[in-house]
């Protein structure tokens, strides 16, 4: 056994007890497993997550408690589902451009009304929803 007093003070028993093996980087052991990030995150630096709250996007398949995956780097297109900021509040809606060039935030639920974005509104698109995760059996 080693004399603890001659051992490096901060180093614990396990390594001090026996002559150590070679330090080897743990990368060697990382198994190549399927990574959901690979599938769901195109741009890691610009992807953010959020929890969905409310039912106005029900018909699009987004329910309360779903995990929204949002890419800030993407530019919204007509019909994109986007996270928008309207007058300082987050909301998730479908971007909808009418033929006469008007901009609407459209819900996907007959109980809700679409919002027209007009000049007086303080409006920005925060990010585009690229996918969402639903948890089975969770409310």
């Amino acid at each position: 056994m080693l004399n603890p007093k001659t051992e490096e003070p901060a180093f614990g028993t396990l390594c001090g007890a026996v002559a150590c093996g070679f330090p080897s980087p743990a990368q060697d052991y990382v198994a190549e497993e399927l990574d959901l990030n690979q599938l769901l995150l195109k741009n890691k630096t610009s992807t953010f997550f959020a929890w969905a709250k409310g039912m106005s996007m029900k018909n699009a398949g987004i329910d309360e408690g779903d995990l929204l995956i949002i890419d800030k780097a993407l530019r919204p297109q007509n019909n994109s589902i986007a996270i928008c900021i309207i007058d300082g509040e987050f909301t998730c809606k479908r971007i909808s451009l009418s033929e006469d060039g008007r901009l609407f935030l459209a819900p996907e639920n007959a109980d809700f009304k679409r919002i027209e974005v007009k000049e007086g509104h303080n409006f920005t698109v925060w990010g585009v929803v690229t996918s969402w995760v639903k948890f089975a059996g969770r409310k």
Binding site: E7, C20, G21, F48, W51, K53, I83, G88, F112, W126
Partner: protein, 415 residues
């Protein structure tokens, strides 16, 4: 050419990304324990809030003026900083992360620097929501000067011709030059030197005598002669690691904890030797893949609330990581601790002065612990690993960790 990219009111901007009601409003961010103001949005600066002023002294003033105060959320800032830096890294092969919100980039072979800088600025802001300013110049000191001016020019300023440089230095206050500062600036004023151009006209021998060799380097950089190369200052490794195979297979959590504690302590030694601090640690544990016993490998990364290099700061998160991945019933033969998000110890101090003060205290404690361990042998002092409550900070106005905790994600109203 060198670009300096600097995030505008970084901490306040991070808060705004996830709390849009703060956009356009004055925001201040407070130091640990909500002590004093360490970051201000432009609106707060305009209202006369000073850097470093104690929060409690003017609470009424903040309220009357609608100033939103946030406790510092380093976990959020570290993640957002990482996103900004990784975005910037796509524009160059050589980037030096100078602080949590600033980076130097080497830009070679780019013809339209102004356009390039604009693009860079746009992409960073679009990716992360963080507004940045870009200054470009032939040297770091000139890039820094350009960055200072960038606000006037829509966030981008490229000093890419001798004419532009000369014109700029003619009116650039000498005290604002990077590396000169307020004190030395005053001293130079006494010698009738008020602008950077006036300083450049002084003979180098005089500069060396008055401002030392460091000052001389600054002056040469002002003249467009690069003295501070990006490599030179970019001394930081990507990561530092401590990993060993155990002398014998280990099964019990207690023993694993001991190993992780001592490895982390060791890792801290390495960090301190390099004058470095880290913002993330990763713990991984492994069974022996040559043996026939059941196999299990796992790792977990934890973002530290505050970058550090003391066992007092790192051991607890490391144990937390271990607890998250440890599974009973396996024979482990190896553990590894990695530190990433490495920056220089010095970089932190400018931003978080009172955090730095705490760090000094921690340094003393760390030394004392080392001595105890030396005198009484291994593991005499067993740090923070008991999971006791410890030294929890007062952060009454802490925003959620929007990007690093599942429970803290933004909740988007749909309806």
């Amino acid at each position: 050419m060198v670009a300096l990219v600097d995030c505008n009111s970084f901490y306040a901007s991070c808060e705004r990304v996830f709390k849009p009601s703060l956009i356009g409003r004055p925001v201040i961010v407070l130091s640990n324990n909500d002590g004093c103001v360490i970051a201000r949005s432009q609106e707060a600066k305009d209202l006369g809030v000073e850097m470093g002023e104690p929060y409690y002294k003017r609470i009424d003033f903040y309220k009357q003026n609608g100033i939103e105060a946030c406790s510092s959320n380093y976990e959020l800032y570290a993640d957002m900083s990482d996103r900004v830096m990784r975005t910037l890294a796509t524009f160059t092969t050589n980037i030096e992360i100078y602080s949590i919100d600033e980076a130097f980039l080497e830009l070679d072979g780019i013809t339209d620097l102004n356009h390039f800088a604009r693009q860079m600025r746009e992409v960073v802001t679009r990716n992360t929501g963080i507004p940045v300013g870009v200054g470009v110049g032939p040297t770091k000191v000139l890039a820094k000067a350009a960055n200072r001016l960038s606000k006037k020019y829509g966030g981008v300023c490229a000093l890419d011709t001798p004419e532009k440089i000369a014109e700029t230095l003619l009116v650039f206050p000498v005290g604002n030059v990077w590396g000169i500062g307020h004190q030395l600036g005053k001293k130079l004023n006494k010698h009738n030197i008020f602008t950077a151009a006036e300083l450049c006209r002084m003979p180098e021998s005089w500069v060396r005598k008055t401002m030392s060799v460091v000052g001389l380097r600054v002056v040469r950089e002002l003249k467009g002669i690069s003295c501070l190369s990006i490599e030179e200052v970019k001394l930081r490794k990507q990561g530092i690691c401590t990993s060993r195979q155990f002398g014998r297979p280990v099964r019990a959590f207690e023993e694993m904890r001991e190993a992780v504690t001592s490895y982390t302590t060791r890792l801290c030694d390495k960090l301190r030797q390099e004058g470095a601090i880290c913002s993330k640690i990763t713990v991984s544990i492994h069974t022996n893949h040559h043996s026939n016993s059941p196999q299990y490998n796992a790792s977990r990364t934890i973002t530290l609330p505050l970058a550090g290099n003391s066992p007092l700061e790192l051991v607890k998160p490391a144990i937390r990581a271990l607890m998250a991945i440890y599974k009973e019933g396996y024979l482990y033969n190896k553990a590894a601790i990695y530190a990433t998000g490495i920056t220089s110890e010095n970089e932190l101090q400018g931003n978080l002065f009172d955090a730095a003060e705490n760090r000094e205290k921690r340094k003393d404690v760390t030394k004392a612990l080392d001595r105890l361990n030396l005198r009484h042998g291994k593991g005499t002092v067993f740090l923070a690993s008991e999971g006791k409550k410890g030294w929890s900070m007062k952060r009454a106005m802490l925003s959620p960790c929007y990007t690093t905790k599942w429970d803290d994600l933004i909740r988007v109203k749909i309806g």
